[in-house]
């Protein structure tokens, strides 16, 4: 990864790209609901746009006018100056073909300088297609976005499983594209009643043009799957629990606290938990108010997924464990013995005070 001296490491933006201005966020609207990552991106996009003296736009594609209008209003309230909309029945469910065409056409017509998407299943499906169509640079899964002294987007992302960070730039192509995972960025304040301009465009595609058909959509019955990322309290376990039976201790504490539970990557490999409960670089990024890590050593891969938490509690037998380097409060103890005590402490405190109240 040495710094090469080739031409494109210098900024020599071709003339036809100089018309590209403004910061865009592709809004994920599905089944009438906007994914929270879209608002997080608007918060960050606002800062980038202000730094560039540019406008911040949301791009909302959807199947029905009412939910698109509602999503557009939310965009204004989270900081957008304007919203581009495309309303067409073929956009009811997310599909790669019509969404790629819609977003690519908008980019070619209105020329944004920066285009941000969520690093979700939808965003990653769409971003690769759009970037390849536009033949521009795309930096995936960024953890930090900034504008450098030359006015280019400096996108920082973890590499090699989080052991290193690298800052990546697209100097001579436009738009500069980046994706960011949910919960990496802070949710911006909601400004009730804020408004902006809507620019409506047509898709120019009919159902007959689209090869892939959505036969049905089966919503998750276990809605918890999606909730770990946005939970206020998360309790997680690691190999220090020693057995899958002991993992129940994590679940019990989570239950008492009304929390979600998860685990480190080795637990997924051992089959103790499912992949959608994995926390860390290759799993979920979380940003809870309280994170309790029991028997987790805190390798860098885990750290990058949890360091956004307001408060991190670490329980580990090894006083030298890496987790104590970034936790706020630490207890050197065997999690298997300590978790039941902590559960009991919370249980009795909450029951006593509930009765008193």
């Amino acid at each position: 990864m040495s710094e090469s001296s080739r031409a494109s490491t210098r900024k020599e933006l071709p003339e036809h790209f100089k018309a590209y201005k403004h910061v865009w966020v592709a809004i994920e609207l599905e089944h009438g609901i906007v994914h929270p990552v879209s608002f997080e991106l608007l918060g960050e996009g606002r800062k980038l746009a202000d730094k560039r003296g540019a406008e911040l736009a949301g791009v909302v594609l959807g199947g029905d006018a009412a939910s698109v209008a509602e999503a557009a209003q939310s965009c204004f309230e989270y900081g957008a100056d304007l919203v581009y909309t495309i309303i067409d029945p073929v956009l009811t469910h997310y599909r790669n073909e019509p969404y790629t065409k819609g977003l690519t056409d908008l980019v070619n017509t209105h020329k944004p300088e920066i285009l941000l998407l969520g690093a979700t299943n939808l965003g990653r499906d769409l971003a690769g297609s759009v970037a390849t169509t536009l033949k521009t640079g795309l930096t995936a899964d960024c953890t930090e976005l900034a504008i450098d002294e030359e006015g280019s987007l400096a996108a920082t992302r973890p590499t090699f499983g989080g052991s290193l960070l690298c800052t990546i730039m697209t100097l001579n192509f436009r738009p500069q594209m980046a994706t960011v995972r949910p919960r990496v960025l802070v949710m911006p304040p909601h400004q009730e009643g804020r408004s902006g301009r809507i620019i409506a465009r047509e898709l120019g595609m009919s159902e007959d043009d689209i090869i892939t058909k959505v036969i049905t959509f089966i919503a998750d019955r276990d809605s918890n799957k999606a909730q770990l990322t946005y939970a206020d309290i998360v309790v997680a376990g690691g190999l220090g629990l020693r057995s899958v039976d002991n993992f129940q201790l994590v679940k019990t504490l989570a239950e008492v606290l009304g929390a979600e539970y998860g685990g480190s990557r080795p637990l997924v490999q051992k089959g103790w938990i499912t992949t959608d409960r994995q926390i860390g670089q290759t799993g979920k990024t979380i940003r809870p108010k309280l994170y309790i890590a029991a028997g987790i050593s805190g390798a860098i891969q885990h750290r990058v997924g949890v360091e956004g938490a307001d408060m991190i509690i670490a329980i580990n037998t090894d006083p030298k464990a890496q987790i104590f380097e970034f936790a706020h409060l630490g207890i050197v103890a065997d999690a298997v013995e300590f978790l039941p005590k902590l559960t009991e402490a919370f249980r009795s405190y909450l029951s006593v005070n509930r009765l008193a109240g």
Binding site: N96, G128, T132, T136, G162, I211, K213, I300, M311, A333
Partner: protein
């Protein structure tokens, strides 16, 4: 490997060398007879450093590559197994493609032990430093060449992402370049009709599963945990030892425009590489002693530092 097993292994390898041409010939004949029904399937694979074992030099902040073992990107094994299952069901061949340094041959050979029929290594110094756009360009060119040489592929598989790059963007890039219908995060192939050229899959979407139907050719990125890679037969293990890995340079793969490869073909540039900053403050350690209720002390400390949390919890407890 104990000496006994090693000897037996080598003996069988020798034995297999004599069997191998016949096996291949038989399979080829069968393919030509059943051309309309069998499938040629490609799987894109990447050899990656085992990220769990990477260490950063504490002083120089550089990756200590020495001694870090390389593995097949774990996500790609789900793609390979799904491809092998389709081959087992419909007959045909599985070709595995990787782009990487010559040593990526090790991982390709490993895919042969699982039962892949052919392995193609795309290797050239022109590919060094490729970002996702340049990578999908090179792989797409190689896949077109594979189609010309070994037969059209109605299905091309990739893993959902790699564990070193984590971008999940190369699969969609290939689909766009080859004009394939793109099916990402597939958890199940429900139906595949070779005569009609249609395929129905379950795709993991946000908050649910999409049941999608489309026409082949398709590019599928396979979700993890959807299957388990087979152990591979002994015959496959022996064949893998002596099998020829098809090795192509950029020119061999039919790439004429070298400026679209490697560093030169990558619109993104790596400006800076650095180690994550150490946290300024280490954890406050709470004492654990006999006769002292550390659990209650921890709870009180949490509430002291986060009073709002205590109120939240109280509301939760009252609502129960």
């Amino acid at each position: 490997m104990p000496a006994f097993y090693l000897r037996r292994h080598l003996a069988r390898c020798l034995l297999f060398q004599f069997c191998e041409p016949e096996t291949t010939e038989r399979r080829r004949r069968w393919i030509s007879q059943e051309r309309d029904r069998v499938m040629h399937i490609a799987v894109c694979m990447k050899q990656v450093p085992d990220s769990g074992q990477i260490r950063v030099h504490p002083v120089t902040n550089t990756i200590m590559r020495q001694g870090v073992p390389t593995i097949i990107n774990p996500y790609d094994l789900f793609a390979l197994e799904e491809a092998l299952r389709l081959r087992d069901k419909f007959g045909g061949e599985v070709t595995v493609l990787t782009m990487g340094p010559p040593m990526a041959e090790d991982s390709l050979r490993k895919t042969l032990t699982f039962g892949a029929d052919r392995a193609v290594l795309l290797t050239d110094r022109f590919f060094a430093g490729s970002d996702t756009l340049a990578t999908s360009f090179a792989l797409a060119a190689a896949l077109e060449k594979i189609a010309r040489e070994f037969g059209e592929m109605p299905v091309i598989f990739t893993g959902k992402q790699t564990i070193d790059g984590d971008t999940a963007q190369v699969g969609p890039g290939i689909a766009k370049r080859l004009n394939l219908n793109q099916l990402t995060y597939v958890s199940r192939i429900n139906e595949l009709d070779t005569a009609a050229g249609t395929i129905t899959v379950e795709r993991r979407a946000e908050g649910g599963v999409q049941l999608l139907s489309t026409k082949m050719p398709v590019l599928i990125t396979m979700l993890e945990g959807t299957n388990e890679i087979r152990r591979g037969s002994l015959a496959d293990a022996y064949r893998a030892v002596s099998a020829k890995i098809v090795t192509w340079s950029a020119v061999d793969a039919g790439i004429t425009d070298i400026t679209k490869c490697g560093l030169r073909g990558s619109p993104t540039i790596v400006k800076k590489v650095f180690a994550p900053q150490a946290h300024a403050e280490k954890a406050t350690m709470l004492p654990v002693e006999d006769g002292y209720d550390a659990a209650a002390a921890l709870m009180n400390e949490i509430f002291k530092r986060q009073p709002a949390l205590e109120a939240d919890l109280m509301r939760f407890a009252s609502g129960q």
